[in-house]
């Protein structure tokens, strides 16, 4: 290897390391403060403790935030998948008027930024008496992620040979029975990806719960952290950082699983936002 080459490679390493540092350094505060007994709003060498995490799980209000986040995210994901798989099956196996239009329309829905519909959505939810409730938020979140789930699952079902289903019909299965027997087992990877994307989107959402929920008993972690951060003069930085760690773990883990799927570019577009 020539020395010019070595220098070039060295520079590329330097570039990558700088990029990686830029991405990682901001996390220093969360990581250090979460285990710091005297955490403040800025980085410092921690006086090591797990006390902040203990506090997080034993304090009166914080476990509730976690529970709310889980209730909302899991329910919304379940509802989203249930509707999504049926709908995607219909879009994949049936030919009907307006199918293309429907597919394109829901693709366009991705264009609608949440801040642009949140005002009207809020007033509608009040009229339907669905504001300030788990149910209302779950319905909204499930619906918001549905276009992506439909597209993703339709693609997955398209790839399953129709003959398999026909074979099941021959054996006396009903259409729904065939879906259950043939489609569900094979749709696994797509379903998993859709589940993770939906879960992560709901889990991380800030604006919708901020507007729709007023009762602190219903707050998910995103709102809890925001409120804790803006509460003047009484921020417990250590617990705040620990909460942030707890909050970021599920999506980080899910992402590990999801990465393989992401190289499919059709999915890549679904990911952001």
């Amino acid at each position: 290897m020539t020395s010019v080459r070595a220098i070039q490679r060295g520079m590329q390493y330097v570039l990558l390391i700088m990029l990686a540092l830029f991405c990682l350094v901001p996390f220093a505060w969360v990581a250090l403060s979460a285990v710091d007994a005297h955490a403040g709003p800025t980085v410092g060498a921690p006086a090591f403790t797990m006390g902040n995490f203990v506090d997080f799980f034993t304090e009166a209000d914080t476990p509730r935030l976690l529970a709310n986040s889980l209730i909302i995210s899991v329910s919304a994901t379940a509802l989203n998948l249930a509707c999504g798989i049926l709908g995607a099956y219909a879009l994949s196996r049936f030919r009907f008027r307006g199918r293309k239009f429907f597919m394109f329309s829901i693709l366009l829905i991705r264009v609608i930024p949440p801040p642009a519909t949140i005002v009207a959505l809020y007033l509608m939810m009040v009229k339907m008496q669905l504001d300030n409730s788990y149910l209302g938020l779950i319905l909204v979140e499930a619906a918001a992620a549905l276009p992506i789930t439909l597209w993703l699952l339709k693609g997955t079902i398209d790839a399953i040979p129709f003959e398999l289903e026909e074979a099941a019909w021959m054996d006396g299965s009903t259409r729904l029975g065939a879906i259950h027997k043939v489609i569900l087992p094979l749709v696994g990877p797509g379903l998993g990806a859709a589940a993770m994307l939906t879960f992560m989107a709901v889990w991380g959402d800030f604006l919708t719960p901020l507007v729709l929920l007023q009762d602190p008993d219903l707050y998910p972690l995103s709102i809890g952290l925001f409120r804790a951060f803006t509460a003047f003069n009484q921020v417990d930085w250590g617990v705040l950082a620990a909460s942030a760690m707890v909050y970021m773990v599920p999506p980080a883990i899910l992402y590990g699983f999801l990465r393989r799927h992401l190289l499919r570019s059709s999915l890549g577009g679904a990911l952001k936002g």
């Binding site: 009040v126 300030n132 507007v211 009762d215 602190p216 809890g224 804790a228 803006t230 003047f232 003069n233």
Partner: protein, 449 residues
């Protein structure tokens, strides 16, 4: 994360009474005495704490009258802006609490939208209302002539200063007669310390405080009409407004205002909670509650021996031909939800909390003057000279203007003062931008021609 929902069970006494009533099914129970649960919202920790103590006493008192009322305290600790956004949504969706304790400046907007119950009839029948000072009563009346909130404290806005610090610096601490005189002294302080010397809420980060604690008290003493009661509109250009914006500009340009801190989120923290207690920022525009809520022994940023180290000036005259003055206002009031199912019980709670010992306790906890006669000799309020002094001042203080659309005017003031802080506008430019902005936000009907 620091929210507490305190559910206070019915006292043992009422339980016994209730059980006895239930067991005796033959006896008709009075309609009024059926068990009733009402909610009370407090959004500041100190207020929530004192309310928590008072509620059992209220329930006891009601039980003695044969009324079974349970009060559920909703203590949701929020900043003013967060509170406003949130309670608006709750009222709008019909999920608001029965009684809301809030800053007087919020009342107009909510009353206008029909979220608050008209209290006129309750107050007419209540002997306590007769004891209220006229200035407080007048301010409680909204533009439609009705009363939608029961003030339970009164504040006097004045300039708080660090007597110890100024004396050490050799700066005159007598009442300044004009702003020019005060600015000379402030310049002297800044020259000595190299730091800004006065904090007056300004800019958008301080939110509603920029309006009620910063701008309004200044403009109130200028003698110019700001809100025209007759026509029900705002006068967006006047000598007083121009002078006020000029003052902000002058203080900014001279480096007397802590501009950087005012532009930060939560600007009250570095200024009122750090620098004023430390003595590095010795003058602050502040309401009576500074004595307790901010700098009292259990306040946000305690100053030891606050009574000795801190004193107040009236606002100096800003416009030639006016005199130094103090401004009333800034106190909290109870509003009753217009949709409350138990309006009677809710009003009962508001009135009980605005009487005797209950009021005295709250006044001391927050640091406010009594808005009514008859409290000055009630413990623990009677032992607070600085609060009693404020109550005296209340009788002669100037009432700040208010009317429908105050929220929009407040917003325009926040932007205009912000542009001064940022150095984007001088006083005249800010005044012009304010007039344009406010007119746009208010719409034609609320602007006086």
């Amino acid at each position: 994360m620091q929210r507490k929902r305190v559910f206070l069970a019915v006292t043992a006494a009422t339980l016994v009474v209730g059980l006895a009533a239930c067991s005796d099914s033959g006896e008709q129970t009075d309609a009024e005495s059926g068990p009733v649960t009402i909610t009370l919202l407090e959004y500041q920790q100190a207020r929530a704490d004192v309310a928590e103590q008072l509620i059992p006493e209220f329930e006891q008192a009601m039980a003695e009258q044969g009324k079974d009322i349970t009060v559920e305290l909703v203590a949701d600790i929020l900043t003013d802006e967060q509170f406003r956004t949130k309670i608006t949504q709750q009222f709008h969706s019909g999920t608001g609490p029965d009684v809301v304790d809030m800053g007087g400046s919020h009342v107009t907007g909510f009353a206008g939208a029909g979220y608050l119950l008209q209290l006129d009839e309750y107050l007419e029948e209540w002997s306590g209302w007769d004891d209220y000072y006229d200035s407080v009563k007048e301010q409680a009346v909204q533009v439609d002539g009705h009363i939608y909130s029961l003030p339970h404290e009164a504040g006097v806005q004045s300039l708080f200063y660090r007597k110890d610090v100024l004396e050490e610096l050799g700066v005159d601490t007598s009442q300044p007669q004009t702003w020019d005189e005060l600015i000379d002294r402030l310049t002297q302080v800044t020259a000595e310390t190299g730091e800004p010397s006065i904090v007056i809420p300004a800019g958008t980060a301080w939110g509603g405080g920029t309006w009620s604690e910063g701008f309004l008290p200044l403009v109130a003493g200028t003698g110019s009409t700001f809100y025209d009661q007759e026509s029900g509109g705002w006068r967006l250009e006047s000598e007083g407004l121009s002078a006020t914006f000029d003052l902000y500009a002058e203080l900014t340009e001279a480096g007397l205002l802590p501009v950087q801190d005012l532009l930060n989120p939560n600007p009250w923290e570095p200024t009122k909670y750090v620098q004023f207690p430390e003595g590095t920022l010795p003058v602050a525009a502040q309401g009576t509650w500074g004595w307790r809520y901010d700098w009292g022994p259990e306040g946000s940023a305690p100053i030891e021996n606050v009574q000795e180290k801190v004193a107040t000036w009236d606002y100096p005259a800003l416009v030639p031909g006016t005199d130094p003055y103090s401004v009333s206002g800034g106190g909290f009031a109870y509003g009753v939800n217009a949709d409350s199912e138990h309006a009677d019980a809710a009003a009962e709670l508001a009135m009980w909390l605005s009487s005797g010992e209950a009021m005295a306790e709250q006044l001391v906890a927050i640091g406010s003057a009594a808005p009514r006669a008859g409290i000055a000799d009630v413990a623990p309020y009677k032992d607070e000279p600085s609060l009693l002094d404020a109550e005296e001042k209340l009788k002669t203080s100037v009432a700040p203007p208010t009317g429908d659309g105050a929220d929009q005017v407040s917003q325009a003031v926040q932007s205009a003062t912000e542009s001064i802080l940022l150095g984007n506008a001088d006083g005249a430019e800010a005044a012009a931008a304010f007039a344009e902005d406010a007119a746009e936000l208010l719409g034609d009907s609320l602007v006086a021609q």
